[in-house]
């Protein structure tokens, strides 16, 4: 019995819990809690509490499946510790791995979205058309807008498929980009490597290090006159 998870176990909650289980079982994509709330005519908070309660109960009961919040909604999935069995059971193309080129491109799109292909190319220092197309074909990124400005650039962003593949509920859950900005020793090493003068100008190096912070690359500060 799982009554302890729905404490109070009012009839309304029991019924809602069963309905949620039924609907999530037939869903193909993660189901947003506000959709469940709308259908069940209950507050979203209540739906979230029910889903969290179910997830905890399945875990406590040692189920081979789990209920998780990912890609903006709830979905059933196999329990991570059952991966060896599930892998034997399902033999298909989904386990294909992304190359590091694809992952770096994906990281740039994820953190800088919306971003154009040319902007990604500029950061990677190589042409990214092929990689971007593959990522789009596989549903990790998609066009999010087209610019009316110069060049009519197409802007890309990550998709729900990406979130699902990363196990994230939303892009805001990505670790802050600041965590990855190289430390002073790396900046120093790079500076030394690029030195074209026996007499380094330390202040400029510090500026160089700052300018890769996750802020937008665009704004050239204020006009000087």
């Amino acid at each position: 019995m799982v009554d302890e998870t729905v404490d109070g176990a009012e009839d309304v909650d029991v019924e809602a819990r069963r309905a949620v289980e039924a609907m999530l079982m037939v869903a193909v994509d993660p189901v947003p809690p506000n959709l469940l709330a709308q259908l069940l005519e209950l507050p979203t908070k209540r739906i979230e509490a029910i889903c969290e309660g179910l997830a905890d109960a399945y875990e406590a009961e040692g189920r081979g499946f789990a209920l998780v919040r990912v890609g903006g909604g709830y979905r059933y999935q196999s329990h991570p510790d059952q991966a060896p069995w599930v892998e034997r059971f399902v033999v298909d193309g989904q386990s294909s791995r992304l190359t590091s080129a694809a992952l770096e491109t994906l990281a740039i799109v994820a953190y800088k979205q919306p971003i154009s292909r040319a902007q990604v190319s500029a950061i990677r220092g190589v042409d990214v058309d092929g990689v971007m197309r593959t990522l789009q074909q596989r549903g990790f990124i998609d066009e999010v807008s087209r610019d009316a400005g110069p060049g009519n650039a197409v802007f890309f962003g990550t998709t729900r498929e990406f979130l699902e593949r990363m196990g994230l509920d939303g892009v805001s859950q990505l670790p802050p980009l600041g965590d990855f900005v190289p430390g002073p020793e790396v900046v120093e090493a790079l500076e030394r490597g690029l030195r074209s003068d026996p007499d380094p100008v330390v202040a400029e190096v510090a500026d160089g290090g700052q300018s890769v912070a996750p802020t937008e690359a665009s704004g050239p500060a204020a006009p000087e006159g």
């Binding site: 770096e104 196990g167 090493a189 400029e204 050239p220 204020a222």
Partner: protein
Amino acid sequence: MSITVSTSVYEGPFDLLLNLILKEEVELYEVSLSAIVDAYLTEMESLDTCDLEAATEFLLIASILVELKTRRLLPVHERAERDDEFGLWEERDLLLARLLECKTFKDAAVSLRRMAADAALSRPRRAGLEDRFAHLAPDLLEGVTTHDLRTAFMAAMAPRPSIHVDTDSIAPIRISVAEAVALVANELPARGVVTFRHLTRALVDRIEVVVWFLAVLELYKLGVVELDQLDNFGDIHVGWRPGADRGDVDLIDAYEG
């Protein structure tokens, strides 16, 4: 000094530079180009077939190294004479900034790989509806034409674009101020007031943003645009001055600093 160049490892020139500088702990300008070329040729010979992509990529990397080494040999004092805003030092700083940015995303990618690996331990349920409910589902073919099918098929089957090698990979300046002036003058009248950030959001390099900024200042000097900035370092609002004549702008044929 022995340097192993594995073409399958280096994803691009930045990759190579990062590896050379950080892993090999060498000063870039001390790297022996002939050592790299030798290692590369050995690598290519061991391949069964000639990989054109790898070969062009390598040419690009090698040319960048040659370019950088050449600059190292130039007398630094010449710098004092130049009027050019985007000279050697700026390029070096730009390159440094780009290497750091590249490194940042490389590390972010490692973290993404870990997240993806963890998430891949679970598989989603995708069985979907039981057949008895299928008739209730919305009509998915509504509005789908045979043309849509053809387009979708082409998208699924299309060959990937061939790799294009950008030989301007260091600080390319793709547009002149005069060209930017013309572009802004063409677009702005129809767009009302926009922020400078928005106007330049499709641009790639900082240097291009600078060019566009100079173009906007030029138009301001001519009195055809109005600029407004509410806070220090805040967004700059750019608008076409009501009644201003586009004809004034067409007179500019070169930017004179």
